[in-house]
Symmetry: D2
Subunit: 225 residues, 4 copies
């Protein structure tokens, strides 16, 4: 079986993980929710452009790879809405004067993003009935009432999309796994500014925390619920 | 400036992160604690052996790379004890019959590790006064009272060691960052069964969550508190 | 309608709460779990005795009122086991040398309880398959993976028993409510060393967080699931 | 020593708590923060009125007792601002369409409070530099990044004011205690719609979680830091 990370993770490493017993499937339950994480202009720009052009508009932009992922999220979104499954938007809250701390230390550029950057990207923007979840830290669970919403909606499975693969997606997936949610990461519906890091984080998540598959495979799996 | 991940993360990717403003230092505070995560026989075996031999004893073993990291942790440990800085051992709790869930789904091999595997590795085992923290999930913060111990001890900085770089270390570092602790990851005192994943996770943490440096550099920084 | 707290909470106060809209029922779901909190010898003694005698054995004992509640928990327990509903034992973990902090400040007597005091009370002790949850703080959710177990078991309702009404029961109920679990507190299956505080905490929980009813009413409601 | 709850908690009950070792002081540290919880028009009305008149404006109003507490908070606030100690406003976030759940079940009247009710009460309203913390659940810690702000500001002590004593104040105090913060509750700077519940919750907190004293005693203690 081939995987998208085969060019980055060596055959020997893949065999080592297999021998140690990692990477089984956790499967999909009966009540999924869709997480669309940080799909705001600040992470892809107001229009598709190559990375180096796009970061001129927003230093936090991932550029074109983000727009490609958005086109995949556009396939998932109507399926959740049609089935009445929760659609949840954890998103970066605009910074306040009191938001000093380690984020401001490590990535000071994040503190001065223009207001426009916090707007949702129209093709996959929230609609009435969706759950909005401002957040100040990587994981969608950290310092937010996400778990309360999931419990109230009897959710057992999370389909996690958005960005970045190595940042807020990864952090949210690790927490979702720890809470015992079944997690699916459609690898073409998440994005990152580093292709290598994107692939290795998908490998990590597939080995330990989530079922990683394409958006089309995800749609197929959801159709069988 | 060169970094240990330069062979895996391309120059173009590194430039992209730099242009976007990532990877600044968060620095060290005045009251550090040492986290020694999962340094139990189950992650390195009862004696140093190459990976493929070591996993015959424990499928979860990382083999020789783990023993090398232990020799670095041995340098850090006396410094913390001498200064009266907290030494904390988040460790994998032996599995109970009721520990089903996503971990058992994704990595069933983890559920049958022999009791010996849960013992601490002698050179860096807990001593009287250290804080023991059994855990059932990747992050040392998840489902544990770690934050309460840190607050009680007025800790502002965490030096995170142990394993795996891409698993419990990464998960703990992301949470520590979110709680606004200053985080140092000595790259030669953490270990993983995949060298690629080890390096990319160090790159990710250095870009966004922690100051990554060698154990010797860490010792030097601590000596200046 | 009369309630057990009518002698302590004045009619005027009860009318005020009613006028303000408090105290509606949240109801029972379809998948309940039973929490038996801190029913260890330390909270009732090794045999039924009046309070003032019982605290000579364990200063933390509530005495006879605890034994009465245990006899009610004995009615609930077989119903959960028979239906395969989760039975969960959040319990006070024996103190370690590193367990200093605010609890040791406020109630130093708690730090020296004899080992015998941590044993479960036989009539309602854990059986194979039950979930054990050592805790160091009042709420069964705080610093424990309780939520992960509940999500893994698709629980939507918690029946909370044990002690003390004003301490670990109250703390756990407030958190359960915040997580959006439906909560039932059988008022004769929880106990406290202060009768007044017991009643007022039941009133508070009934007004805002839980459905408070007798064990018999609880059994009746459970029989209709 | 007399206490404000002596008329509600019997002498025998108070002796029982004393014999069992409860109610010692945890003391004040060196870096306090002030929590002003839910002091919005919805909890006291837009002007001081007796309870039964005030709830006509907002069903959640506590009426005149709230205004009296506000006058005490007015004494504390300048001391914190002058010393550069953090001032934090956990407040009830306006309800969204997706805020169904147990709160809507138990207290449906809370879901329809007019927008004006969410405004801060002018005499103790936030100023530039204060930390704002919208919340959806009783405790100021639940589903919020409060701990991250406290750690970033090296806080070791919380002075908790606002309302209600038996609701969000109590819930926040229990969590603050569990996180090992030293907690002071100035009994005349917190308020509740039930005087009995107010007093018993103060007794509970004093016995187990916090140092309860008057605002004047709090000011005196703070002056010695």
């Amino acid at each position: 079986m081939t995987a998208i990370w085969d060019d980055v993770i060596s055959l020997d490493e893949r065999k080592a993980y297999e021998a140690a017993g990692f990477g089984k499937r956790s499967g999909i339950g009966t009540r999924p929710a869709l997480l669309i994480i940080d799909v705001q202009y600040r992470t892809i720009g107001t229009e598709p452009k190559p990375f180096w052009d796009s970061i001129k508009e927003f230093p936090t932009s991932c550029g074109e790879v983000g727009w490609k992922a958005v086109s995949q999220i556009e396939k998932l979104l109507p399926v959740f809405r049609k089935n009445g499954w929760p659609v949840i938007y954890p998103y970066v809250a605009p910074k306040e004067a009191f938001d000093t701390g380690r984020l401001a230390d490590k990535v000071p550029a994040l503190m001065g993003v223009a207001a426009k950057g916090y707007e949702f990207v129209p093709p996959v923007a929230p609609a009435a009935g969706d759950i909005l979840l401002p957040k100040r830290h990587p994981s969608a669970f950290f310092g937010t009432p996400l778990t309360s919403y999931l419990i109230n909606n009897a959710v057992d499975t999370l389909v996690v999309t958005g960005c970045t693969t190595s940042g807020c997606v990864r952090g949210s997936v690790v927490d979702a796994f720890a809470y015992n949610y079944r997690v699916v990461v459609p690898h073409d519906a998440v994005y990152d500014r580093s292709h290598t890091s994107h692939l290795v984080n998908l490998f990590d998540m597939s080995a330990k925390y989530a079922d990683v598959m394409s958006t089309d495979e995800t749609l197929d799996a959801l159709s069988k619920i």
